[in-house]
Symmetry: C2
Subunit: 355 residues, 2 copies
Amino acid sequence: MTNNPADSTSESLPDSPGATGQPADRRSTLHDVAARVGVSPRTVSRVVNNEEGFSEATRERVLEAIEELEYRPNLVARGLVTQQTRTLGLVVTDLSDPFFAELANGAQRAAITNRYNVFLCATDNEADQQANVLDSLRSHGIDGTIVFPATDTDDGLRRVAADVPIVCVDHEVDHPRITTVSSDLVAGARMAVEHLVDRGHTKLGMVASKFSPSDRRRREVGFLAAHRKLFPGTPEPMIVRTEPTLEGGRSATAELLDRDPSITGIFAYNDITAIGAILAATDRGLTVPGDLAVVGFDDVPLAAVFGPPLTTIRIDRERLGQVAIEMVLAMMGGSRTGRPSPQILPVELVVRAST
Amino acid sequence: MTNNPADSTSESLPDSPGATGQPADRRSTLHDVAARVGVSPRTVSRVVNNEEGFSEATRERVLEAIEELEYRPNLVARGLVTQQTRTLGLVVTDLSDPFFAELANGAQRAAITNRYNVFLCATDNEADQQANVLDSLRSHGIDGTIVFPATDTDDGLRRVAADVPIVCVDHEVDHPRITTVSSDLVAGARMAVEHLVDRGHTKLGMVASKFSPSDRRRREVGFLAAHRKLFPGTPEPMIVRTEPTLEGGRSATAELLDRDPSITGIFAYNDITAIGAILAATDRGLTVPGDLAVVGFDDVPLAAVFGPPLTTIRIDRERLGQVAIEMVLAMMGGSRTGRPSPQILPVELVVRAST
DNA sequence: ACACATCGCGTCAACGTTGACGTAATCTAG
DNA sequence: CTAGATTACGTCAACGTTGACGCGATGTGT
């Protein structure tokens, strides 16, 4: 009965489990359950973990005691011995950006369905802060992590990857335990061009971001490639790089129209710059989509309610988060099949009133 | 030197710390550092935790070894013995809602500055899901948690509060270890009314949410109270309850104007319904703010870029999250001063072009 | 010179759980 | 009927850390 030597010293407590069967003040442990049933903690552990090596009869009695004592496994203790905490990290630059908020939303839900919990951290796109949070997450013993990397932190990520598998969002790092999930921005750009051409536009321009490093300029690549395919032999369309803001989009579009007034179709870096483009059109008395058609990117909530509602390329950010979780779980699977190959998720053309 | 008996069995590993001084494959522990310096793990622990009971000389040698071995405390092990994990929960209904995203942003940053990490969970406003995530968080040994409660879950929260202090957002629960942080919605409504009256409007109407339970209708309370104070003895202004969506705001405003065409000022439940109100105005050829002035609530990002930009009552959601964290840390402080009293954060009138 | 405090450590157990291994009782095969 | 397998457990140590306590060496007051 009294397998637990500590019990003998503390049986004077009120509500000691053996006496009343009520949950005690402190959370109950394997020992409490074991004492109540009259087996060893190890047997209770076996039942809890669905191992084998116990009779149906004891299984039922253990389950009953677990219910009565409201026993829940202590994941901290379990983590110490198994070296697995069933926690994941999710490191983004800024949660107030809806892109990351929805990414986090999808990731967190996918994690929960796999019985994992996620630590969420913001870096403000600063290398120091990213190093800090990753360090902190490692101290907490996370089993894996999703990272939208701050710029120029590949080496830091490689160091972390020695302990913890990493899935990067929209960024590739060459390391056996780092893989990538991203959106098919090239295809998105192609869809935008094809749609504009479908609508009868032949003179196109693009508003791009001047902050994108060259390896993240895949929208531009897709834009030019699609144009080349549809209008072989004609001069390349114009691209103006600007800040990816409302005003940036506005001024860049004004510049495009100044330099070539025959442009009737704009492909914008994202929805905010697209709205800037629309404002630039109305600034000079052009109607949208009559005189100028505009396609955005992302499909932020704002896009659907703007006047006119914006045609855009939709990125399924929740799915991005979900897939990222699935990939990191796969890497943790430990099957020495090497890292899962980078995944590129499809995007979708959403036609609204701006084209 | 070889205080750690496990070493003897594994000294054939490459890079064993005693031999090379390089970090090993596995993360180094107190034992590794201790062995390297030639002291006991307990002494290293003392240095790490800034306790006392060691000489300056050993302190330096320990710190040096920590650096060389890249030692980081294992918070899982520490948590097991101290019963404190330095983790907090943050339970909201839906992260893709910018309100919660920014709340989470503020909370997470406040947590990090206090050297805590936060588990983020979504409940979809479902009681079951909330119970699940809270259970899971308890198993992980969180030290405290912020909850935006799903409807009708007070009892569930009280049960959790037995183990873990809770700060609720915008909701009160009567329990010694549950307290509340909220925004001053009543004052916000008052500010909206006063602003409209300042602008010369005397006939007001309000678009409210039909989903708000009676204890969350503080905007309506403030609206009526302010009106009563400014126009004593006159009939109460009209309130129409609708779905808090764009279309809801549009139709509710149409109804208000149908029933009383002399209305010139609208106070809307949130920014989205306010935009609906503006659309309703333009539907019938009214100009904003010329014929109809509209005040929203929340100050979502969209509010600033809509045409016309929206006058609104700003809720500082990041600060809400930050204060929530500070309150839960205070409750954990364990000082038996009872729970901190509920906090109500101020809101702010942001005047733009819609009034 | 002696009692006593302080310093600078070390030792041991415990936190709650699981991995490795042991073992008595029962079953199975020949 | 007996050797060997199987079942249903129990025992013990370990995960990495800290709390409680011990202890010898050195300082301090009288």
